[in-house]
């Protein structure tokens, strides 16, 4: 008996001795103005790693974080640093701007990479190594246009564009193109700049334009102040936005004024599409004691995509992982079943969320 136990123990130790630690790099803004978003995404990635960290061959997956502070030069340094440390894959970066820095470097160094929430279509262009876990802005804009025209029966719209944000510009363009194609009319485009605090002037313009709906593909800090001022000016139109409004700042700052704001998003924890999803949400509540932000869900999915690709490889080389990422088919993820074609852009569904009384209510899922 003792001999058997001894043999068993030595085999176990031997396998752990042979089990390597595989490193996956993560580039996120952990400091700087984007730190809030970076921290959100990190929570999702950490939980995903906690849930699944041992590969089929026994190797352990470890995350290596590098902070890019939202800065491009630091992002470039980060990619090179991780490359030197021998990571087999990279999750990152957060914004489309910074992911655009990651893309050419991972293409040159042949490292597979997955961006969790970068929605600008240029990020994965002509790059077999760069992928993403989210939908792209052309799709998000189309979903919004369809929802506005068909479900909300809005025939006229005013579009608010944040000129200082590539995200806003891209998403607005996608919406306007699709909305016009459906027969809707854009009665006015108004421009703001992130950092603006006073929107009463543009709100007066919107009020006199009297549209059926306001499309606001902007970020939460600006929307929060705008919603308050709109309420004060007595503007009672339906508002539809993009995933930039998922940040809790909107609900915290605008409070009641945010009631009724709808937006397209990647995920809503009340509509868990898969079993993994339910498990993730439960564990997330337990670990972080807050509701699951969509950025965390996408962060987790980026991890799962890489993890799944790693499991399909006999030898854990970057080439093999890169190839298998683009062969991902119906992978069970937090945000749904994920399939990634050669383009690197997964076919994802979008959800429509609505804010009511400081909470996110689930309204609908729109499939591609």
């Amino acid at each position: 008996m003792k001999n058997l136990a001894l043999i068993g123990l030595s085999i176990l130790t031997a396998s752990t001795l042979f089990a390597k630690t595989i490193e996956v790099g993560v580039i996120m803004p952990l400091t700087g103005s984007l730190a809030g978003y970076g921290q959100m995404t990190k929570k999702g990635i950490d939980l995903a790693n906690q849930m699944k960290h041992t590969l089929k061959n026994g190797d352990n997956v470890k995350l290596v974080y590098v902070d890019n502070s939202g800065d491009k030069a630091q992002t470039a340094n980060a990619v090179n640093k991780l490359n030197n440390e021998g990571v087999v894959a990279i999750i990152g970066a957060l914004t489309s701007s910074n992911s655009l820095v990651v893309a050419p470097i991972v293409k040159r160094e042949k490292i597979p990479a997955v961006a969790p929430v970068a929605t600008n279509k240029m990020v994965t262009r002509a790059n077999p190594y760069m992928n993403r876990a989210c939908f792209i802005d052309p799709f998000q804009g189309k979903v919004a246009a369809k929802y506005a025209y068909k479900t909300l029966h809005a025939k006229t719209a005013v579009v608010i564009i944040d000129k200082a944000q590539a995200y806003s510009v891209g998403l607005a363009k996608a919406f306007m193109k699709n909305y016009a194609k459906l027969g809707g009319k854009i009665v006015k485009r108004v421009f703001i700049t992130s950092g603006d605090k006073d929107f009463k002037a543009v709100l007066s313009i919107i009020k006199s334009a009297n549209p059926d709906i306001i499309y606001a593909p902007i970020y939460a800090p600006e929307m929060a102040l705008m919603a308050r001022q709109a309420k004060m000016l007595g503007i009672k139109k339906p508002v539809l936005g993009g995933d930039g409004l998922s940040d809790a700042t909107l609900r915290k700052v605008a409070k009641d004024a945010a009631n009724g704001i709808m937006y397209t998003d990647h995920f809503n924890e009340k509509a868990t599409p898969t079993k993994l999803s339910k498990e993730f949400v439960t564990k997330y509540h337990k670990k972080y004691k807050e509701s699951v932000p969509s950025f965390a869900a996408n962060g987790a999915d980026s991890y799962f995509i890489i993890f799944n690709a790693m499991n399909k490889c006999d030898k854990l080389t970057r080439e093999c992982i890169a190839k298998n990422i683009t062969k991902t088919k119906n992978l069970e993820g937090v945000t749904g079943k994920i399939t990634i074609p050669a383009s690197g852009n997964p076919k994802k569904s979008a959800v429509i969320n609505e804010i009511q009384n400081g909470k996110i209510e689930y309204k609908a899922t729109v499939n591609p």
Binding site: L30, T31, A35, D67, D71, K72, A73, A76, N77, N80, K81, N83, N84, S97, L100, V101, P104, E109, N120, M122, I161, D162, K163, A164, Q165, A166, S168, V169, G170, K173, T193
Partner: protein, 335 residues
């Protein structure tokens, strides 16, 4: 003769080191060295207006932005431009402008220095302190311009897929050229006039020197090299957008030239290595480490700003004061 001999030897040494580094070092170090190279160009030229001429200016991020955009627009092909420009179509001027790498950099430098000329007129008429605020504002305006004029700059989308022609060697060559040019200016009659202005502008005026002309020359030269630095940056990162040319860039350069010693070109070079290397090395401050048990993101920058304040209070002259490394009396810790 001795000067030329030393010059040739140092040039050959530097070029050889660059060539070997580019070939044998790993990409992380090469990237960091390339960054350092660009910052050397920026630091020695920024030192010219701030340290040598004593005019406190906060202009670098503005001129670097101009240089970066001009170079990027000159290097991108028409197809790329048409594909990338999102909110509005590129204007005809944008589609027309195209050139190869070196001319693009030179044009960027010239454009930057011409803009510096136009700024010099209102600003140098009034003294000292206003230059700082005006150049700071100028940096803001350039950013706002870049965001709003999307038929020229593609607005907040920025420009990507810029041809990566800048590598450690080309950057190193430009750094070498800028250092040699700046040192030549400093040791020339113009340099002496600049230092005189720094020490006592009224007396310099009284001596019959056209201080406005000298200040403008310094300002334009700084702008020229900052424009080139910006162009190299664009080609190195292959993507640029308005938000990366923020005040943070100027602040980093400020720390560098203060640490090296305001007015010392060699000081600026050494300080560039120290500051940029230090910023990477001090990353550990943002993680749980020796001093704190939990992660405090942002601690690194707090430490950096404290460092600047402490240097200003206790070691205001920096490493070399206003002397070069080959001048006998350095390490000026004069309080």
């Amino acid at each position: 003769m001795k000067y030329f001999r030393n010059l040739i030897i140092s040039i050959i040494l530097v070029l050889a080191t660059l060539f070997l580094a580019n070939k044998y070092l790993d990409s992380y170090l090469v990237m960091i060295l390339s960054n350092i190279g660009i910052f050397i160009i920026l630091a020695v030229s920024y030192n010219l207006i701030n340290g040598v001429t004593g005019q406190f200016s906060l202009e670098p991020n503005g001129f670097v932005a101009i240089g970066a955009y001009v170079t990027a627009l000159l290097l991108l092909s028409n197809d790329e431009k048409t594909m990338q420009f999102m909110l509005s179509d590129p204007s005809p001027l944008i589609l027309w402008m195209h050139s190869s790498f070196i001319p693009a950099l030179l044009i960027s430098g010239i454009v930057a220095s011409l803009i510096a000329l136009t700024l010099a007129f209102p600003v140098f008429r009034v003294r000292g302190d206003y230059l700082a605020i005006v150049t700071l504002g100028f940096g803001f305006i350039i950013r706002i311009f870049a965001i709003n004029q999307d038929s020229y700059t593609n607005g907040s989308m920025g420009l990507s897929n810029i041809p990566n022609e800048a590598n450690l060697i080309s950057i190193g060559v430009f750094a070498l050229i800028s250092v040699i040019v700046v040192l030549n200016i400093v040791y020339s009659k113009y340099g002496r006039a600049m230092k005189a202005i720094r020490d006592d502008e009224d007396a310099t005026n009284a001596m019959g020197i056209n201080t406005f002309k000298i200040k403008t020359i310094a300002f334009m030269t700084s702008a020229f090299f900052e424009g080139i630095g910006g162009g190299l940056m664009a080609s190195l990162l292959t993507t640029i957008s308005p938000e990366q040319f923020s005040f943070m860039l100027t602040f980093q350069l400020l720390i560098i030239i203060v640490l090296g010693g305001l007015g010392s070109t060699t000081g600026a070079i050494i300080a560039t290595f120290l500051v940029l290397g230090g910023m990477e090395a001090l990353r550990f401050l943002d993680e749980p480490n020796f001093f704190t048990n939990t992660a405090h993101p942002g601690l690194r920058m707090v430490v950096f700003s404290l460092l600047l304040i402490l240097i200003m209070i206790f070691a205001r002259k920096g490493l070399f004061g206003d002397r070069e490394i080959w001048d006998k009396k350095w390490f000026n810790f004069k309080m």
